[in-house]
């Protein structure tokens, strides 16, 4: 499964902000660390703000901070702000879906989609932060 660019930016931003709850982090800092477009990231941060996940702090030393509950917000919550994952709505039909071959293929793809959704909905921001800390301990060269 590949995530869209905006979704990846959003995940990086949330993880960066949630890892530093006591300070505001500027969009420029995040963009530089992950080598991503500041313009694009700014749009992503606005979307996250509308979703109530981040808050902009104005003024000197301003930036963004994560305002969700890291133990409750899941990867799926963040991803769904930008793209849909999981089984397609029942009404959606692609050419060939009504054939036996199409139905068999659809059954297999739905199994994958359901597992994807179950995985993403069970991993919270806090769990991701734990994984990141563990990764840093095991691979000190990771930034």
């Amino acid at each position: 499964m590949n995530l869209q660019m905006a979704t990846r930016h959003a995940l990086f931003a949330i993880l960066e902000l949630a890892a530093q709850p006591d300070r505001q982090v500027s969009a420029a800092e995040i963009a530089e660390k992950y080598d991503i477009s500041l313009n694009h990231l700014s749009k992503v941060l606005r979307t996250l703000g509308r979703r109530g996940l981040v808050e902009a702090v104005r003024g000197v030393g301003g930036g963004y901070r994560f305002v969700g509950n890291a133990r409750r917000v899941t990867l799926l919550d963040i991803i769904n702000a930008f793209e849909e994952v999981g089984p397609s709505p029942g009404s959606h039909r692609d050419p060939g879906d009504d054939t036996a071959e199409g139905q068999a293929l659809r059954t297999v793809m739905e199994e994958i989609d359901i597992l994807t959704e179950a995985t993403l909905s069970s991993i919270t921001v806090e769990t991701m932060l734990k994984m990141i800390r563990r990764s840093r301990r095991e691979t000190p060269s990771a930034a």
């Binding site: 109530g52 305002v67 969700g68 509950n69 133990r71 409750r72 899941t74 359901i114 597992l115 179950a118 995985t119 909905s121 069970s122 991993i123 919270t124 806090e126 769990t127 734990k130 994984m131 563990r134």
Partner: protein, 152 residues
């Protein structure tokens, strides 16, 4: 968004027969089905001998949860590993560290038994429970569960 409540620091110990009624009642509250015979069987099997382990958690003499696990060897070709197959914490006491204390207590038992992997199986829509186990560092393992409806 509201903060989570302060963490609890429960006492963890092996279950005794006196804990069974609390376990049965908590399981009933969680599943909607009271299964006293099942739990007495579980206690006879895992609570008394070396086959497995039932741990209970208490804070200030209040029962606040249980966990059940056992070491299974060579099932599905797997070397010995610890299985968690039941965990219960009252709904009003979740996300306060009780499950973590029980899980860590069970991990200690499994380590002492010489196993290096802990495993469980969950309904894929059991999001809260799956989130809990993932928060303990558990990831998808090398097995996939498959099933089929048998024709009558």
């Amino acid at each position: 968004m509201a903060d989570d409540p302060d963490p609890l620091t429960p006492t963890i110990r092996p279950a005794t027969p006196a804990d069974l009624d609390f376990i049965i009642a908590l399981d009933r509250d969680m599943t909607g089905i009271e299964k006293p015979e099942y739990w007495r069987g579980i206690y006879d099997r895992f609570g008394k001998g070396s086959e497995g382990c039932i741990l209970v958690a208490y804070t200030d003499d209040r029962f606040v949860g249980f966990i059940v696990g056992e070491v299974r060897a060579w099932e599905f070709g797997s070397p010995p590993c610890g299985w968690v197959f039941a965990l219960g914490v009252p709904a009003d006491l979740r996300v306060q560290g009780v499950g973590t204390a029980l899980f860590e207590g069970l991990c200690d038992r499994f380590r002492a038994a010489g196993v290096k992997t802990i495993r469980t199986m969950l309904a894929r829509d059991a999001r809260l429970l799956m989130s809990f186990f993932r928060s303990q560092g558990m990831m998808g393992g090398p097995f996939i569960q498959l099933e089929k409806e048998l024709a009558g």
